[in-house]
Symmetry: C2
């Protein structure tokens, strides 16, 4: 894999090749859907099988299956077959740290727009914890 990274550029960021930027964009894209964030959230305190995820999120079965495939391919969740059931768990808790940072950033941003957001602040903390 050749990323064509030049270390002699004037800008540390302009080093990034389209391929590298696409890797990052694709990662963010996985997190850019409410349904997938719901699924991630439903797994914060332990693994669930698909049926339990469906109940927790209220999403359709085929839809959940598709999202779980995407999340698995992105390395965000991991799959483990147990009998007829497929159990999914968070593969990398880093995702919660990331969401917590974003939440806190949104808090600051919305506070600057004079919106009451004590609740959202608590959310940011719940991600981090």
């Amino acid at each position: 894999m050749n990323l064509n990274i030049s270390t002699t550029n004037e800008s540390g960021m302009s080093e990034l090749t389209p391929a590298t930027l696409k890797l990052m964009a694709d990662f963010f894209k996985v997190l850019s859907e409410t349904s997938r964030l719901q699924i991630i959230c439903s797994l914060k305190y332990g693994s669930k099988n698909v049926t339990e995820i469906i109940e927790a999120t209220g999403l359709g079965q085929a839809n959940v299956s598709k999202h779980l495939k995407l999340l698995t391919q992105a390395g965000i969740v991991a799959r483990e077959q147990q009998g007829v059931s497929a159990y999914y768990k968070i593969a990398n808790p880093f995702i919660f740290e990331l969401c917590g940072l974003v939440c806190n950033s949104l808090v600051v941003q919305l506070e600057q727009q004079n919106k009451p957001l004590q609740e959202l602040t608590a959310i940011g903390n719940s991600f981090a914890g």
Copy 2:
């Protein structure tokens, strides 16, 4: 603004209302396009006007204008008119911290898949710096 956050739920994550999840999803969505990441990267070391951003990224003028509008609305960049030109700058350097974390996470993930990625590691550091 009522986010219906209940503090008595069994799960810290199931507290998140659809409205809150949508805020986060929309934020991630802004970062989920290569073109917008390109624009962000082009602004790492200072502000640029639209013409300079077009040159740095190779994107079309109307396209850049649309992306800049989105990035501005998301609070990621800020706009300042100077004569006929519009100068844009990063509104919150937090975005680079975030990208750096994601880069490093991708490094770990791809290393586990046995792919050569010294270059990508350097990228993660360049984001953080």
